[in-house]
């Protein structure tokens, strides 16, 4: 079988003695246009063996040791979630996906309202809460974690360090002979991005393999990117899907979605929606409010719209969307906010702050009766609210 990726494979062999087992993968997977190959089906020998600690004087050893120190710092960071149950849930999933590499993978959940996950060469994995908020089920989370494990298994970080070094050296010597200038440097940089894009594509392949062998529906990997595309377009413009976002090394989102669907094929699998929602339920409102605090209203609306399209009676998402409309305060936002918040307080698990927000809306339109009612309800359920004093002055101002 034709294997256009042969040069990549030899580079890998140079960097990774264990990777011979993956030869079959690359040979079959290199031509995107071909339908998903049966030889891609999970086999017990598809993954490399566990990595021994690289020698201290190697470039890989240097990265590894530095990441060990970074991990020590990360563990001490107040941003790391201390919730053992949630961390264990994500850790268990990473473990299942990583197979024999499970003992080497250490998950840290970081409270930041952006979509991100990464894995360092020493096995340290970070997952940001913005990602946990955006994926809809265990399969989608598995897709992202599997992708990161893919980078780890193929030691892409070390390759990129080596590549960066050789490209920078090349650029420098190009400059030496006067060939520098926008064009020269652009060529070098473009080459650098393409190399990394290659990494991303391979990580997608490997991630798909890992998630499918663990029984998840591979098409959910494409869904992750479809969901993200809308948010990217808010600032990135309509072309965001075709272009790579600034500073990102990922392939354009629209290409990636199509490729992932093709990779997934027709293999059935589970979604794991209930397990995922159960594991994240105690935190979701906090994460939604973190998202609202970003002040990026259009992106937040897309996210909450998507959540509510799946589950119309998600009281927390309804409240959060109502908040976004209220805070954006655009021309038609008042009515939308009111509708969302009125609906929220009808639901069982309505966040307590919904009454406060209703009070604020009514106050804005000088509806004293409705405002007072809502504020008093809020103070009765949340007497120690941070703004209790302020709300009380609102009430006395309204009842004059």
């Amino acid at each position: 079988m034709k294997t256009p990726g042969l040069t990549r494979r030899s580079a890998l062999r140079w960097g990774c003695g264990h990777c011979l087992g993956m030869a079959g993968l690359f040979g079959a997977a290199s031509a995107l246009a071909q339908p998903a190959d049966a030889s891609l089906a999970p086999t017990s020998n598809a993954l490399p063996d566990r990595f021994g600690r690289p020698s201290l004087d190697s470039d890989e050893g240097g990265l590894w040791a530095m990441m060990d120190r970074e991990e020590t710092r990360l563990r001490r960071s107040p941003f790391v979630l201390r919730d053992k149950a949630l961390t264990q849930y994500v850790q268990d999933l990473a473990c299942r996906l990583g197979g024999d590499h499970c003992p080497d993978i250490r998950v840290h959940v970081v409270r930041t309202p952006l979509f991100n996950a990464n894995m360092a060469p020493n096995g340290m994995m970070q997952v940001w809460t913005g990602l946990l908020l955006r994926v809809e089920n265990e399969a989608q989370l598995a897709a992202v974690l599997g992708h990161e494990i893919g980078h780890y298994l193929e030691r892409h970080s070390t390759e990129r360090l080596r590549d960066a070094k050789s490209r920078m050296a090349f650029a420098q010597f190009m400059g030496l002979f006067g060939a520098v200038g926008a064009l020269g440097q652009l060529g070098v940089l473009a080459g650098s991005f393409a190399f990394s894009r290659d990494h991303e594509t391979r990580a997608d392949r490997l991630g798909m393999q890992l998630m499918q062998r663990s029984g998840y529906d591979g098409r959910q990997a494409a869904q992750v990117w479809e969901n993200l595309l809308g948010e990217l377009k808010v600032t990135g413009g309509e072309d965001a899907g075709k272009r790579s976002p600034m500073m990102a090394t990922h392939p354009p989102v629209e290409t990636r979605r199509a490729d992932l669907l093709q990779l997934a094929g027709t293999t059935p699998g589970r979604l794991g929606e209930d397990e995922f929602l159960k594991a994240t339920s105690t935190h979701r409102l906090d994460w939604m409010l973190d998202e609202v605090k970003r002040g990026q209203y259009e992106e937040s609306l897309l996210l909450f719209d998507r959540m509510l399209a799946k589950r119309a009676n998600d009281a927390q998402a309804l409240f959060s969307r109502g908040e976004v409309y209220r805070l954006r305060a655009g021309p038609d936002d008042f009515a939308k906010s009111l509708a969302d918040l009125n609906e929220t307080v009808r639901l069982e698990s309505a966040p307590l702050q919904a009454h406060r927000s209703l009070g604020l809306l009514h106050k804005q339109r000088s509806d004293a009766v409705a405002a007072t009612q809502a504020f008093e309800k809020y103070l009765s359920v949340a007497p120690d609210a941070p703004d209790a004093t302020l709300i009380k002055t609102y009430i006395s101002g309204l009842t004059l």
Binding site: R73, P78, F79, T235, M246, G295, E298, P386, D387, T389
Partner: protein, 196 residues
Amino acid sequence: MKKIILAALITVLAGCGTTIVKVEGDQLVNNRMRVRVTDAWNKVSLVNNKQPYDIWTQEGMALDQLRLWAALPSGQSLVVSTQSTPSGQTAPRLPTFMAGMQPDQLVNLFEVMYSVDGSLVTMNKVEPTVFAGEKGVRLEFAVMRKSDGVQLNGVAWAAIRKGELYAASFVAPRLSFFPRLVSKAESVVKTAQIQG
């Protein structure tokens, strides 16, 4: 992380004419708000990063910061972005003051402003107050700083007069620094008077 913040600060401060001057006695913020300073502060002027607020500090930018806004017009953001937006793309939203904002909306402006770098903001107390002679709002909050994990406490004041925003906010590490310095910030703020 620490290297990043230091490098960034050095780049911002040490380059191109940034100055720090001592401020004491009567001071004017944006020609529209007068404050009286008994304990001297240091006022930082960033030439290549002009913000719509004055920056004052006691112990240094990495530790405490007092920001002062005066007569910020409706439609202006509380902070200005330093990054340019590539063509075809839209700039991210910035916390923007609008005349007619209610106190709770003013509170949200500060929440967003201090979150913009990935830091986590928690509101602890919000109450009505008088600031610069106008009815306004005072807030106490906490910030978990993203760049180095230092935990800060903060206090802010905001009021609107004739459709313009007058505000101040002070943050410092919650251990030792904030308790020690907040009274200095408060003593400046309570002398605030709108001019014109």
